[in-house]
Protein backbone atom coordinates (compact mmCIF):
# COMPACT_ATOMS: atom_id res chain seq x y z
CA UNK A 1 0.00 0.00 0.00
CA UNK A 2 1.30 3.36 -0.96
CA UNK A 3 1.95 5.89 1.73
CA UNK A 4 -0.04 8.60 0.00
CA UNK A 5 -3.03 8.16 -2.23
CA UNK A 6 -1.99 11.05 -4.48
CA UNK A 7 1.47 12.44 -4.66
CA UNK A 8 2.81 15.28 -6.79
CA UNK A 9 6.59 15.60 -6.94
CA UNK A 10 8.35 18.65 -8.33
CA UNK A 11 5.54 19.25 -10.77
CA UNK A 12 5.84 22.14 -13.20
CA UNK A 13 3.28 23.26 -15.72
CA UNK A 14 3.76 25.77 -18.48
CA UNK A 15 1.06 27.09 -20.80
CA UNK A 16 3.34 28.47 -23.49
CA UNK A 17 5.58 30.87 -21.59
CA UNK A 18 3.16 31.08 -18.68
CA UNK A 19 4.67 29.21 -15.73
CA UNK A 20 1.46 28.20 -13.97
CA UNK A 21 2.59 25.51 -11.49
CA UNK A 22 6.03 25.92 -9.96
CA UNK A 23 8.00 22.98 -8.55
CA UNK A 24 4.98 21.84 -6.64
CA UNK A 25 5.09 19.03 -4.10
CA UNK A 26 1.88 17.73 -2.59
CA UNK A 27 1.15 14.52 -0.72
CA UNK A 28 -2.48 13.67 -0.12
CA UNK A 29 -3.41 11.15 2.58
CA UNK A 30 -5.91 8.39 2.03
CA UNK A 31 -9.40 9.34 3.17
CA UNK A 32 -8.70 12.96 3.88
CA UNK A 33 -10.59 16.04 2.79
CA UNK A 34 -7.95 18.26 1.27
CA UNK A 35 -8.81 21.70 -0.03
CA UNK A 36 -6.87 23.75 -2.53
CA UNK A 37 -7.57 27.35 -1.65
CA UNK A 38 -6.24 30.41 -3.40
CA UNK A 39 -7.04 33.45 -5.49
CA UNK A 40 -8.27 33.21 -9.07
CA UNK A 41 -5.61 32.07 -11.50
CA UNK A 42 -3.27 30.55 -8.91
CA UNK A 43 -3.44 27.13 -10.55
CA UNK A 44 -5.99 25.16 -8.52
CA UNK A 45 -7.94 23.88 -11.50
CA UNK A 46 -4.72 23.08 -13.33
CA UNK A 47 -3.63 20.79 -10.48
CA UNK A 48 -6.94 18.92 -10.53
CA UNK A 49 -6.80 18.61 -14.32
CA UNK A 50 -3.31 17.17 -14.17
CA UNK A 51 -4.37 14.59 -11.59
CA UNK A 52 -7.50 13.73 -13.58
CA UNK A 53 -5.55 13.42 -16.81
CA UNK A 54 -6.92 16.32 -18.83
CA UNK A 55 -3.66 18.21 -18.72
CA UNK A 56 -0.07 16.94 -18.84
CA UNK A 57 2.50 18.22 -16.39
CA UNK A 58 5.42 19.84 -18.22
CA UNK A 59 7.73 17.94 -15.86
CA UNK A 60 7.69 16.22 -12.49
CA UNK A 61 5.76 13.13 -11.47
CA UNK A 62 2.22 12.51 -10.36
CA UNK A 63 1.39 9.27 -8.55
CA UNK A 64 -1.99 7.85 -7.67
CA UNK A 65 -1.81 4.97 -5.18
CA UNK A 66 1.93 4.83 -5.65
CA UNK A 67 1.67 4.39 -9.42
CA UNK A 68 2.86 6.97 -11.87
CA UNK A 69 0.00 8.13 -14.06
CA UNK A 70 1.76 10.06 -16.83
CA UNK A 71 1.13 7.30 -19.34
CA UNK A 72 -2.47 6.72 -18.32
CA UNK A 73 -5.30 8.38 -20.16
CA UNK A 74 -8.02 10.16 -18.19
CA UNK A 75 -10.32 7.17 -18.72
CA UNK A 76 -7.76 4.79 -17.26
CA UNK A 77 -7.29 6.64 -13.98
CA UNK A 78 -8.98 5.70 -10.71
CA UNK A 79 -10.07 9.24 -10.00
CA UNK A 80 -13.32 10.97 -10.84
CA UNK A 81 -14.20 14.61 -11.17
CA UNK A 82 -17.12 16.82 -10.25
CA UNK A 83 -17.01 19.82 -12.57
CA UNK A 84 -17.97 23.32 -11.61
CA UNK A 85 -20.32 23.59 -14.57
CA UNK A 86 -21.77 20.15 -13.62
CA UNK A 87 -21.04 18.95 -17.19
CA UNK A 88 -24.05 16.63 -17.16
CA UNK A 89 -24.92 14.95 -20.45
CA UNK A 90 -27.87 17.09 -21.58
CA UNK A 91 -29.25 14.42 -23.91
CA UNK A 92 -29.51 11.78 -21.19
CA UNK A 93 -31.86 11.31 -18.27
CA UNK A 94 -30.67 11.48 -14.69
CA UNK A 95 -30.61 7.69 -14.61
CA UNK A 96 -28.47 7.44 -17.75
CA UNK A 97 -26.17 10.19 -16.52
CA UNK A 98 -25.49 8.36 -13.29
CA UNK A 99 -25.27 4.97 -15.00
CA UNK A 100 -22.82 6.22 -17.63
CA UNK A 101 -19.63 5.05 -15.92
CA UNK A 102 -21.08 1.56 -15.48
CA UNK A 103 -22.54 1.23 -18.97
CA UNK A 104 -19.16 2.15 -20.40
CA UNK A 105 -17.65 -0.69 -18.36
CA UNK A 106 -20.40 -3.02 -19.62
CA UNK A 107 -21.66 -3.87 -16.15
CA UNK A 108 -24.77 -6.10 -16.31
CA UNK A 109 -28.07 -4.23 -16.50
CA UNK A 110 -29.51 -5.52 -13.23
CA UNK A 111 -26.45 -4.39 -11.31
CA UNK A 112 -26.54 -0.99 -12.99
CA UNK A 113 -30.14 -0.52 -11.92
CA UNK A 114 -29.33 -1.52 -8.37
CA UNK A 115 -26.31 0.73 -8.04
CA UNK A 116 -27.96 3.74 -9.66
CA UNK A 117 -30.78 3.31 -7.13
CA UNK A 118 -28.24 3.27 -4.32
CA UNK A 119 -26.66 6.43 -5.66
CA UNK A 120 -30.00 8.18 -6.03
CA UNK A 121 -30.69 7.38 -2.39
CA UNK A 122 -27.26 8.54 -1.34
CA UNK A 123 -27.73 11.96 -2.92
CA UNK A 124 -31.44 12.04 -2.09
CA UNK A 125 -32.78 12.22 -5.62
CA UNK A 126 -35.17 9.27 -5.61
CA UNK A 127 -37.91 9.76 -8.17
CA UNK A 128 -35.82 11.99 -10.43
CA UNK A 129 -34.32 9.23 -12.58
CA UNK A 130 -36.47 10.00 -15.62
CA UNK A 131 -35.75 13.73 -15.68
CA UNK A 132 -33.52 15.57 -18.08
CA UNK A 133 -30.80 17.78 -16.58
CA UNK A 134 -32.30 20.97 -17.97
CA UNK A 135 -35.41 20.35 -15.91
CA UNK A 136 -33.54 20.40 -12.61
CA UNK A 137 -32.31 23.10 -10.27
CA UNK A 138 -28.64 23.90 -9.73
CA UNK A 139 -28.49 21.98 -6.47
CA UNK A 140 -30.16 18.94 -7.98
CA UNK A 141 -27.82 18.99 -10.98
CA UNK A 142 -24.87 19.11 -8.65
CA UNK A 143 -26.16 16.05 -6.81
CA UNK A 144 -26.46 14.19 -10.10
CA UNK A 145 -22.90 15.18 -10.96
CA UNK A 146 -21.71 13.89 -7.59
CA UNK A 147 -23.63 10.62 -7.91
CA UNK A 148 -22.32 10.14 -11.44
CA UNK A 149 -18.75 10.56 -10.25
CA UNK A 150 -19.19 8.35 -7.18
CA UNK A 151 -20.77 5.36 -8.90
CA UNK A 152 -17.37 4.24 -10.18
CA UNK A 153 -16.13 3.90 -6.59
CA UNK A 154 -13.16 6.18 -7.24
CA UNK A 155 -10.21 6.19 -4.86
CA UNK A 156 -10.13 9.94 -5.14
CA UNK A 157 -12.85 12.41 -5.95
CA UNK A 158 -11.74 15.72 -7.45
CA UNK A 159 -14.18 18.59 -6.97
CA UNK A 160 -13.60 21.89 -8.76
CA UNK A 161 -15.64 24.56 -7.00
CA UNK A 162 -18.65 22.25 -6.99
CA UNK A 163 -20.80 24.71 -5.08
CA UNK A 164 -19.64 27.86 -6.84
CA UNK A 165 -22.87 28.37 -8.75
CA UNK A 166 -25.24 27.84 -5.82
CA UNK A 167 -26.77 30.48 -3.60
CA UNK A 168 -25.49 30.89 -0.06
CA UNK A 169 -28.15 28.86 1.70
CA UNK A 170 -28.00 25.92 -0.66
CA UNK A 171 -24.23 26.07 -0.53
CA UNK A 172 -24.23 25.71 3.24
CA UNK A 173 -26.60 22.77 3.00
CA UNK A 174 -24.52 21.07 0.29
CA UNK A 175 -21.33 21.63 2.31
CA UNK A 176 -22.80 19.57 5.13
CA UNK A 177 -24.00 16.89 2.72
CA UNK A 178 -20.66 16.62 0.96
CA UNK A 179 -18.88 16.28 4.27
CA UNK A 180 -21.35 13.56 5.27
CA UNK A 181 -20.78 11.70 2.00
CA UNK A 182 -17.05 11.89 2.38
CA UNK A 183 -17.14 10.47 5.90
CA UNK A 184 -19.65 7.80 5.00
CA UNK A 185 -17.77 6.56 1.94
CA UNK A 186 -14.20 7.09 3.19
CA UNK A 187 -13.19 8.56 -0.12
CA UNK A 188 -10.35 11.03 -0.47
CA UNK A 189 -11.71 14.41 -1.54
CA UNK A 190 -9.55 16.96 -3.27
CA UNK A 191 -11.65 20.07 -3.20
CA UNK A 192 -11.07 23.39 -4.93
CA UNK A 193 -12.62 26.59 -3.73
CA UNK A 194 -11.81 30.22 -3.30
CA UNK A 195 -14.27 30.59 -0.46
CA UNK A 196 -12.09 30.47 2.65
CA UNK A 197 -15.00 29.92 5.00
CA UNK A 198 -16.01 26.86 3.01
CA UNK A 199 -12.44 25.59 3.14
CA UNK A 200 -12.26 26.18 6.88
CA UNK A 201 -15.46 24.33 7.73
CA UNK A 202 -15.00 21.31 5.49
CA UNK A 203 -11.33 20.44 5.25
CA UNK A 204 -9.02 18.19 7.17
CA UNK A 205 -6.15 20.08 5.59
CA UNK A 206 -5.94 23.17 3.43
CA UNK A 207 -3.28 23.96 0.88
CA UNK A 208 -3.20 27.72 0.47
CA UNK A 209 -1.90 28.50 -2.99
CA UNK A 210 -0.53 31.62 -4.56
CA UNK A 211 0.98 32.04 -8.01
CA UNK A 212 1.48 28.33 -8.67
CA UNK A 213 3.05 27.39 -5.33
CA UNK A 214 1.60 26.06 -2.09
CA UNK A 215 2.41 28.64 0.54
CA UNK A 216 1.02 26.74 3.49
CA UNK A 217 -0.34 23.23 3.89
CA UNK A 218 -1.84 22.48 7.29
CA UNK A 219 -5.05 22.02 9.24
CA UNK A 220 -7.54 24.93 9.11
CA UNK A 221 -6.85 25.63 12.76
CA UNK A 222 -3.10 25.85 12.30
CA UNK A 223 -3.37 27.94 9.17
CA UNK A 224 -5.49 30.45 10.97
CA UNK A 225 -3.46 30.56 14.16
CA UNK A 226 0.02 30.39 12.68
CA UNK A 227 0.07 31.43 9.03
CA UNK A 228 3.38 30.60 7.44
CA UNK A 229 3.59 33.52 5.04
CA UNK A 230 2.43 37.08 4.79
CA UNK A 231 0.16 36.08 1.92
CA UNK A 232 -1.53 33.36 3.97
CA UNK A 233 -1.98 35.73 6.90
CA UNK A 234 -3.74 38.20 4.64
CA UNK A 235 -5.70 35.66 2.63
CA UNK A 236 -7.11 33.64 5.53
CA UNK A 237 -9.16 35.73 7.88
CA UNK A 238 -8.16 39.22 8.88
CA UNK A 239 -4.83 40.13 10.26
CA UNK A 240 -2.68 43.00 11.43
CA UNK A 241 0.84 42.81 10.08
CA UNK A 242 3.94 44.52 11.44
CA UNK A 243 7.31 44.41 9.76
CA UNK A 244 10.65 44.65 11.51
CA UNK A 245 13.90 43.10 12.65
CA UNK A 246 14.40 40.58 15.44
CA UNK A 247 16.66 42.28 18.00
CA UNK A 248 16.76 39.84 20.87
CA UNK A 249 15.65 36.30 21.62
CA UNK A 250 15.54 35.15 25.26
CA UNK A 251 13.66 32.17 26.68
CA UNK A 252 11.63 31.86 23.50
CA UNK A 253 10.47 35.47 23.62
CA UNK A 254 11.65 37.64 20.77
CA UNK A 255 11.94 41.40 20.92
CA UNK A 256 11.28 43.02 17.56
CA UNK A 257 11.99 46.53 16.37
CA UNK A 258 9.12 47.12 13.98
CA UNK A 259 8.74 50.09 11.69
CA UNK A 260 6.11 51.36 14.15
CA UNK A 261 7.88 50.67 17.40
CA UNK A 262 8.92 47.86 19.73
CA UNK A 263 6.98 44.62 20.10
CA UNK A 264 7.48 41.11 21.50
CA UNK A 265 6.17 37.63 20.84
CA UNK A 266 6.84 33.93 21.32
CA UNK A 267 9.21 32.69 18.65
CA UNK A 268 11.13 29.63 17.62
CA UNK A 269 13.27 28.97 14.58
CA UNK A 270 14.32 32.61 14.21
CA UNK A 271 17.79 34.13 14.58
CA UNK A 272 18.43 37.56 16.07
CA UNK A 273 19.10 40.06 13.31
CA UNK A 274 16.56 38.45 10.98
CA UNK A 275 13.98 40.52 9.11
CA UNK A 276 10.45 39.34 9.90
CA UNK A 277 6.73 40.06 10.01
CA UNK A 278 4.41 39.75 12.97
CA UNK A 279 0.80 38.66 12.41
CA UNK A 280 -1.76 39.50 15.06
CA UNK A 281 -5.43 38.60 14.56
CA UNK A 282 -7.90 41.46 15.29
CA UNK A 283 -9.65 39.55 18.07
CA UNK A 284 -6.46 39.12 20.14
CA UNK A 285 -5.16 42.65 19.63
CA UNK A 286 -5.12 44.53 22.96
CA UNK A 287 -4.87 48.18 23.84
CA UNK A 288 -4.04 50.36 26.79
CA UNK A 289 -4.00 54.06 27.61
CA UNK A 290 -0.57 53.61 29.18
CA UNK A 291 2.60 52.18 27.56
CA UNK A 292 3.02 48.42 28.08
CA UNK A 293 6.34 46.75 28.88
CA UNK A 294 8.11 45.57 25.71
CA UNK A 295 5.78 47.44 23.37
CA UNK A 296 5.77 50.91 21.88
CA UNK A 297 3.10 50.86 19.19
CA UNK A 298 1.12 54.07 19.33
CA UNK A 299 -1.96 54.98 17.36
CA UNK A 300 -5.09 57.09 17.23
CA UNK A 301 -8.61 55.67 17.30
CA UNK A 302 -10.17 56.37 13.90
CA UNK A 303 -13.62 54.94 14.45
CA UNK A 304 -15.66 52.18 16.04
CA UNK A 305 -18.14 50.42 13.78
CA UNK A 306 -20.55 47.55 14.19
CA UNK A 307 -19.91 44.87 11.55
CA UNK A 308 -22.53 42.19 11.87
CA UNK A 309 -21.53 40.03 14.78
CA UNK A 310 -18.92 42.27 16.34
CA UNK A 311 -17.57 45.74 16.92
CA UNK A 312 -14.52 46.82 15.03
CA UNK A 313 -12.18 49.55 16.14
CA UNK A 314 -9.77 50.98 13.61
CA UNK A 315 -6.60 52.48 15.00
CA UNK A 316 -4.50 54.61 12.67
CA UNK A 317 -0.76 54.23 13.18
CA UNK A 318 1.94 56.83 12.54
CA UNK A 319 2.50 55.72 8.95
CA UNK A 320 -1.22 55.65 8.19
CA UNK A 321 -1.65 51.87 8.56
CA UNK A 322 -5.02 50.95 10.11
CA UNK A 323 -4.85 48.31 12.83
CA UNK A 324 -8.08 46.37 13.35
CA UNK A 325 -9.39 45.36 16.76
CA UNK A 326 -12.48 43.14 16.91
CA UNK A 327 -14.58 42.63 20.02
CA UNK A 328 -17.93 40.97 20.60
CA UNK A 329 -18.79 43.74 23.06
CA UNK A 330 -18.38 47.39 22.26
CA UNK A 331 -15.21 49.01 23.62
CA UNK A 332 -17.06 51.64 25.63
CA UNK A 333 -13.85 53.17 26.91
CA UNK A 334 -12.68 54.15 23.41
CA UNK A 335 -13.78 57.12 21.38
CA UNK A 336 -12.60 58.75 18.18
CA UNK A 337 -9.32 60.62 18.52
CA UNK A 338 -8.07 58.76 21.61
CA UNK A 339 -4.35 58.05 21.63
CA UNK A 340 -3.72 54.46 22.66
CA UNK A 341 -0.92 51.89 22.95
CA UNK A 342 -1.31 48.52 21.22
CA UNK A 343 0.04 45.23 22.59
CA UNK A 344 -0.76 41.52 22.71
CA UNK A 345 -0.01 38.41 24.72
CA UNK A 346 3.30 37.05 23.40
CA UNK A 347 1.73 33.67 22.51
CA UNK A 348 -1.14 35.28 20.55
CA UNK A 349 1.12 36.59 17.78
CA UNK A 350 2.83 34.67 14.98
CA UNK A 351 6.25 35.36 13.53
CA UNK A 352 6.50 35.15 9.75
CA UNK A 353 9.80 34.95 7.88
CA UNK A 354 10.34 37.94 5.64
Amino acid sequence: MAEHIVSLKKVNKFFGDNHVIKDLNLDINEGEFLTLLGPSGCGKTTILRMVAGFEDATNGTIEVQGERVEDKEAYERDVNTVFQSYALFPHMTVFDNIAYGLTVKKVPKSEITRRVKEMLELVQLMGFEGRKPDMMSGGQKQRVAIARALINNPKVLLLDEPLGALDLQLRKQMQIELKRLQKQLHITFVYVTHDQEEAMTMSDRIAVMNGGVIEHLASPDEIYKAPKTRFVANFIGESNLFTGKLESLENGIGGVATTLGKAKLELSGFEPGEEMHICVRPEVMKYSKEPVDGFSLRGTVKNVIFVGAQYRTLVTMEDGYDVKINRVKQNKDLKEGDDIYLYWEPDDATGIKA
Binding site: A52, G53, F54, E73, A74, Y75, V79, N80, T81, F83, S85, A87, L88, F89, P90, H91, M92, T93, D96, Y100, G101, T103, V104, K105, K132, R148, A149, N152
Partner: protein, 281 residues
Protein backbone atom coordinates in the same frame (compact mmCIF):
# COMPACT_ATOMS: atom_id res chain seq x y z
CA UNK B 1 -60.54 58.94 -14.79
CA UNK B 2 -57.69 60.66 -16.53
CA UNK B 3 -55.16 57.91 -15.88
CA UNK B 4 -57.46 55.23 -17.18
CA UNK B 5 -58.21 57.21 -20.30
CA UNK B 6 -54.55 57.73 -21.07
CA UNK B 7 -53.87 54.08 -20.61
CA UNK B 8 -56.60 53.02 -22.98
CA UNK B 9 -55.38 55.52 -25.55
CA UNK B 10 -51.95 53.99 -25.31
CA UNK B 11 -53.44 50.54 -25.69
CA UNK B 12 -55.43 51.61 -28.72
CA UNK B 13 -52.29 52.94 -30.34
CA UNK B 14 -50.51 49.72 -29.59
CA UNK B 15 -53.30 47.72 -31.15
CA UNK B 16 -53.24 49.89 -34.26
CA UNK B 17 -49.52 49.32 -34.70
CA UNK B 18 -50.11 45.63 -34.23
CA UNK B 19 -52.61 45.69 -37.08
CA UNK B 20 -50.31 47.70 -39.35
CA UNK B 21 -47.46 45.26 -38.85
CA UNK B 22 -49.79 42.35 -39.57
CA UNK B 23 -50.73 43.93 -42.89
CA UNK B 24 -47.08 44.55 -43.65
CA UNK B 25 -46.16 40.94 -42.95
CA UNK B 26 -49.07 39.80 -45.12
CA UNK B 27 -47.82 41.92 -48.04
CA UNK B 28 -44.29 40.57 -47.70
CA UNK B 29 -45.53 37.00 -47.78
CA UNK B 30 -47.80 37.84 -50.71
CA UNK B 31 -44.82 39.18 -52.62
CA UNK B 32 -42.90 35.97 -52.02
CA UNK B 33 -45.68 33.49 -52.61
CA UNK B 34 -47.84 34.97 -55.39
CA UNK B 35 -45.50 33.82 -58.18
CA UNK B 36 -45.42 30.32 -56.73
CA UNK B 37 -49.17 30.23 -56.30
CA UNK B 38 -49.71 31.44 -59.87
CA UNK B 39 -47.40 28.73 -61.11
CA UNK B 40 -49.24 26.08 -59.13
CA UNK B 41 -52.60 27.25 -60.46
CA UNK B 42 -51.39 27.37 -64.05
CA UNK B 43 -50.01 23.86 -63.78
CA UNK B 44 -53.66 22.82 -63.74
CA UNK B 45 -54.60 25.10 -66.63
CA UNK B 46 -56.22 23.41 -69.62
CA UNK B 47 -54.43 25.62 -72.11
CA UNK B 48 -51.14 25.07 -73.79
CA UNK B 49 -49.72 28.59 -73.94
CA UNK B 50 -50.59 29.68 -70.44
CA UNK B 51 -51.96 33.07 -71.45
CA UNK B 52 -55.39 32.74 -69.90
CA UNK B 53 -57.29 30.35 -67.66
CA UNK B 54 -59.14 27.75 -69.65
CA UNK B 55 -60.38 25.29 -67.08
CA UNK B 56 -59.01 22.62 -64.76
CA UNK B 57 -56.97 19.66 -65.96
CA UNK B 58 -54.42 17.20 -64.63
CA UNK B 59 -53.24 16.48 -68.15
CA UNK B 60 -49.79 17.97 -67.58
CA UNK B 61 -49.17 15.82 -64.57
CA UNK B 62 -50.22 12.73 -66.48
CA UNK B 63 -47.92 13.71 -69.32
CA UNK B 64 -45.16 14.31 -66.88
CA UNK B 65 -45.35 10.83 -65.48
CA UNK B 66 -46.12 8.90 -68.64
CA UNK B 67 -44.40 10.19 -71.69
CA UNK B 68 -41.58 12.26 -70.40
CA UNK B 69 -38.27 11.37 -68.87
CA UNK B 70 -38.43 14.28 -66.45
CA UNK B 71 -38.89 11.81 -63.61
CA UNK B 72 -35.54 10.35 -64.57
CA UNK B 73 -33.89 13.76 -64.25
CA UNK B 74 -35.54 14.15 -60.87
CA UNK B 75 -34.00 10.82 -59.87
CA UNK B 76 -30.56 12.04 -60.89
CA UNK B 77 -31.11 15.26 -58.95
CA UNK B 78 -32.04 13.31 -55.85
CA UNK B 79 -29.13 10.88 -56.11
CA UNK B 80 -26.65 13.72 -56.57
CA UNK B 81 -28.17 15.72 -53.72
CA UNK B 82 -28.25 12.83 -51.28
CA UNK B 83 -24.71 11.70 -52.11
CA UNK B 84 -23.31 15.25 -51.99
CA UNK B 85 -25.12 15.84 -48.68
CA UNK B 86 -23.71 12.72 -47.07
CA UNK B 87 -20.19 13.52 -48.26
CA UNK B 88 -20.31 17.16 -47.18
CA UNK B 89 -21.83 16.40 -43.79
CA UNK B 90 -19.14 13.86 -42.97
CA UNK B 91 -16.22 15.90 -44.30
CA UNK B 92 -17.65 19.17 -43.02
CA UNK B 93 -18.26 17.91 -39.49
CA UNK B 94 -14.83 16.34 -39.18
CA UNK B 95 -13.27 19.47 -40.67
CA UNK B 96 -15.13 21.72 -38.25
CA UNK B 97 -14.04 19.55 -35.30
CA UNK B 98 -10.45 19.89 -36.45
CA UNK B 99 -10.72 23.63 -36.97
CA UNK B 100 -12.23 24.25 -33.54
CA UNK B 101 -10.45 21.70 -31.40
CA UNK B 102 -6.88 21.66 -32.70
CA UNK B 103 -4.17 24.23 -33.00
CA UNK B 104 -1.97 24.10 -36.07
CA UNK B 105 -0.02 26.28 -38.45
CA UNK B 106 -2.03 28.31 -40.96
CA UNK B 107 -5.21 27.60 -39.01
CA UNK B 108 -6.64 31.06 -39.62
CA UNK B 109 -5.72 30.92 -43.31
CA UNK B 110 -7.50 27.62 -43.73
CA UNK B 111 -10.39 28.80 -41.63
CA UNK B 112 -10.89 31.96 -43.68
CA UNK B 113 -10.36 30.29 -47.03
CA UNK B 114 -13.65 28.50 -46.36
CA UNK B 115 -15.41 31.62 -47.55
CA UNK B 116 -13.74 31.60 -50.96
CA UNK B 117 -16.01 28.97 -52.57
CA UNK B 118 -18.96 30.85 -51.08
CA UNK B 119 -18.11 34.30 -52.39
CA UNK B 120 -16.59 33.25 -55.72
CA UNK B 121 -19.26 33.55 -58.44
CA UNK B 122 -20.72 30.16 -59.26
CA UNK B 123 -19.74 30.56 -62.90
CA UNK B 124 -16.10 30.81 -61.89
CA UNK B 125 -16.35 27.79 -59.65
CA UNK B 126 -18.12 25.88 -62.44
CA UNK B 127 -15.48 26.72 -65.01
CA UNK B 128 -12.61 25.87 -62.70
CA UNK B 129 -14.17 22.55 -61.76
CA UNK B 130 -14.71 21.76 -65.42
CA UNK B 131 -11.10 22.65 -66.20
CA UNK B 132 -9.89 20.49 -63.35
CA UNK B 133 -11.84 17.47 -64.59
CA UNK B 134 -10.66 18.03 -68.14
CA UNK B 135 -7.02 18.29 -67.10
CA UNK B 136 -7.34 15.18 -64.95
CA UNK B 137 -9.02 13.52 -67.89
CA UNK B 138 -11.95 12.60 -65.69
CA UNK B 139 -15.14 11.82 -67.66
CA UNK B 140 -18.09 14.08 -66.78
CA UNK B 141 -21.01 12.33 -65.17
CA UNK B 142 -22.51 11.40 -61.80
CA UNK B 143 -19.15 11.36 -60.03
CA UNK B 144 -18.12 14.81 -61.20
CA UNK B 145 -21.57 16.11 -60.31
CA UNK B 146 -21.44 14.69 -56.79
CA UNK B 147 -17.88 15.89 -56.21
CA UNK B 148 -18.69 19.38 -57.50
CA UNK B 149 -21.81 19.68 -55.38
CA UNK B 150 -19.93 18.48 -52.31
CA UNK B 151 -17.31 21.15 -53.09
CA UNK B 152 -19.72 24.01 -52.69
CA UNK B 153 -21.69 22.39 -49.84
CA UNK B 154 -18.75 21.56 -47.56
CA UNK B 155 -17.93 25.18 -46.61
CA UNK B 156 -21.51 25.76 -45.52
CA UNK B 157 -21.51 22.63 -43.37
CA UNK B 158 -18.15 23.56 -41.83
CA UNK B 159 -19.37 27.05 -41.01
CA UNK B 160 -22.58 25.78 -39.42
CA UNK B 161 -20.80 23.05 -37.48
CA UNK B 162 -17.93 25.29 -36.41
CA UNK B 163 -20.37 27.50 -34.54
CA UNK B 164 -22.08 24.55 -32.91
CA UNK B 165 -18.85 22.92 -31.84
CA UNK B 166 -17.36 26.14 -30.49
CA UNK B 167 -20.49 26.62 -28.41
CA UNK B 168 -20.22 23.16 -26.90
CA UNK B 169 -19.03 22.81 -23.31
CA UNK B 170 -15.75 20.89 -23.52
CA UNK B 171 -16.12 19.62 -19.99
CA UNK B 172 -19.06 17.45 -21.06
CA UNK B 173 -16.72 15.35 -23.16
CA UNK B 174 -14.10 15.46 -20.43
CA UNK B 175 -16.70 14.14 -18.02
CA UNK B 176 -17.29 11.22 -20.35
CA UNK B 177 -13.57 10.40 -20.48
CA UNK B 178 -13.35 10.91 -16.74
CA UNK B 179 -16.02 8.24 -16.28
CA UNK B 180 -14.01 5.71 -18.24
CA UNK B 181 -15.11 6.18 -21.84
CA UNK B 182 -12.32 6.29 -24.40
CA UNK B 183 -12.30 8.83 -27.20
CA UNK B 184 -14.30 6.71 -29.63
CA UNK B 185 -17.08 5.90 -27.18
CA UNK B 186 -17.10 9.53 -26.07
CA UNK B 187 -17.49 10.65 -29.66
CA UNK B 188 -20.42 8.36 -30.41
CA UNK B 189 -22.22 8.60 -27.08
CA UNK B 190 -21.67 12.25 -26.23
CA UNK B 191 -20.18 14.40 -28.98
CA UNK B 192 -22.22 13.10 -31.89
CA UNK B 193 -25.63 13.16 -30.18
CA UNK B 194 -24.98 16.73 -29.11
CA UNK B 195 -24.05 17.66 -32.67
CA UNK B 196 -27.07 16.02 -34.31
CA UNK B 197 -29.14 19.23 -34.50
CA UNK B 198 -26.22 20.99 -36.20
CA UNK B 199 -25.67 18.08 -38.53
CA UNK B 200 -29.34 18.17 -39.46
CA UNK B 201 -29.14 21.86 -40.35
CA UNK B 202 -25.97 21.25 -42.32
CA UNK B 203 -27.56 18.36 -44.19
CA UNK B 204 -30.67 20.34 -44.94
CA UNK B 205 -28.60 23.24 -46.20
CA UNK B 206 -26.48 20.99 -48.43
CA UNK B 207 -29.48 19.18 -49.82
CA UNK B 208 -31.22 22.43 -50.71
CA UNK B 209 -28.11 23.94 -52.26
CA UNK B 210 -27.50 20.83 -54.31
CA UNK B 211 -31.03 20.16 -55.48
CA UNK B 212 -31.52 23.60 -57.00
CA UNK B 213 -28.07 24.24 -58.35
CA UNK B 214 -28.08 25.08 -62.06
CA UNK B 215 -24.94 26.98 -62.89
CA UNK B 216 -22.22 24.64 -61.65
CA UNK B 217 -24.21 21.59 -62.71
CA UNK B 218 -24.44 23.03 -66.20
CA UNK B 219 -20.67 22.85 -66.51
CA UNK B 220 -19.93 19.48 -64.99
CA UNK B 221 -23.05 17.40 -65.66
CA UNK B 222 -22.02 15.91 -68.97
CA UNK B 223 -24.61 14.19 -71.13
CA UNK B 224 -25.67 11.47 -68.69
CA UNK B 225 -26.00 13.29 -65.39
CA UNK B 226 -28.40 16.07 -66.27
CA UNK B 227 -30.30 17.13 -63.19
CA UNK B 228 -33.82 18.44 -63.14
CA UNK B 229 -33.02 22.16 -62.80
CA UNK B 230 -30.55 21.92 -65.69
CA UNK B 231 -33.18 20.20 -67.80
CA UNK B 232 -35.85 22.74 -66.89
CA UNK B 233 -33.56 25.58 -67.83
CA UNK B 234 -32.97 24.07 -71.23
CA UNK B 235 -36.72 23.46 -71.64
CA UNK B 236 -37.77 27.05 -70.93
CA UNK B 237 -35.27 28.28 -73.49
CA UNK B 238 -37.84 27.17 -76.05
CA UNK B 239 -40.80 28.73 -74.21
CA UNK B 240 -42.79 28.11 -71.05
CA UNK B 241 -44.78 24.94 -71.03
CA UNK B 242 -47.44 23.82 -68.55
CA UNK B 243 -45.45 20.65 -68.13
CA UNK B 244 -42.66 22.67 -66.53
CA UNK B 245 -45.23 24.28 -64.26
CA UNK B 246 -46.44 20.88 -63.17
CA UNK B 247 -42.90 19.74 -62.57
CA UNK B 248 -41.85 22.76 -60.53
CA UNK B 249 -45.07 22.45 -58.56
CA UNK B 250 -44.00 18.95 -57.66
CA UNK B 251 -40.58 20.24 -56.66
CA UNK B 252 -42.12 22.85 -54.41
CA UNK B 253 -44.21 20.09 -52.88
CA UNK B 254 -41.13 17.94 -52.29
CA UNK B 255 -39.25 20.81 -50.67
CA UNK B 256 -42.26 21.69 -48.54
CA UNK B 257 -42.46 18.13 -47.28
CA UNK B 258 -38.73 18.26 -46.66
CA UNK B 259 -39.02 21.40 -44.55
CA UNK B 260 -41.87 19.88 -42.56
CA UNK B 261 -39.92 16.68 -41.96
CA UNK B 262 -36.88 18.67 -40.93
CA UNK B 263 -38.89 20.70 -38.45
CA UNK B 264 -40.60 17.63 -37.08
CA UNK B 265 -37.31 15.82 -36.62
CA UNK B 266 -35.71 18.82 -34.94
CA UNK B 267 -38.64 19.09 -32.55
CA UNK B 268 -38.54 15.38 -31.86
CA UNK B 269 -34.80 15.49 -31.20
CA UNK B 270 -35.31 18.24 -28.72
CA UNK B 271 -38.06 16.37 -26.96
CA UNK B 272 -36.77 12.86 -26.87
CA UNK B 273 -33.44 11.63 -25.59
CA UNK B 274 -30.95 10.32 -28.06
CA UNK B 275 -29.97 7.71 -25.54
CA UNK B 276 -30.85 4.95 -27.96
CA UNK B 277 -27.71 5.83 -29.88
CA UNK B 278 -25.86 4.07 -27.11
CA UNK B 279 -27.45 0.77 -28.10
CA UNK B 280 -24.93 0.68 -30.93
CA UNK B 281 -22.28 0.00 -28.30
Amino acid sequence: MAGEKRLSKRLRKKRLWGRVSNVYAFLVYLFIYVPIIVMVIYSFNDQKNNYYWNGFTTEWYEKLFTNSDLVGYLGISLIVAVAATIISVIIGTIGALGLVRFEFKLKSVISNSLYIPIVVPEVVLGISLLMLFEIANFPLGMTTMILSHATFCIPFVVIIMRGRIAGMDLSIEEASMDLGANRLITFFRVTLPLLIPGIMSGAFMSFTLSIDDVIISNFVAGPYATTLPVKILSMVKTGLSPEVNALTTLMVLVLLVGILINNAVQALLKKRALTNIKSYF
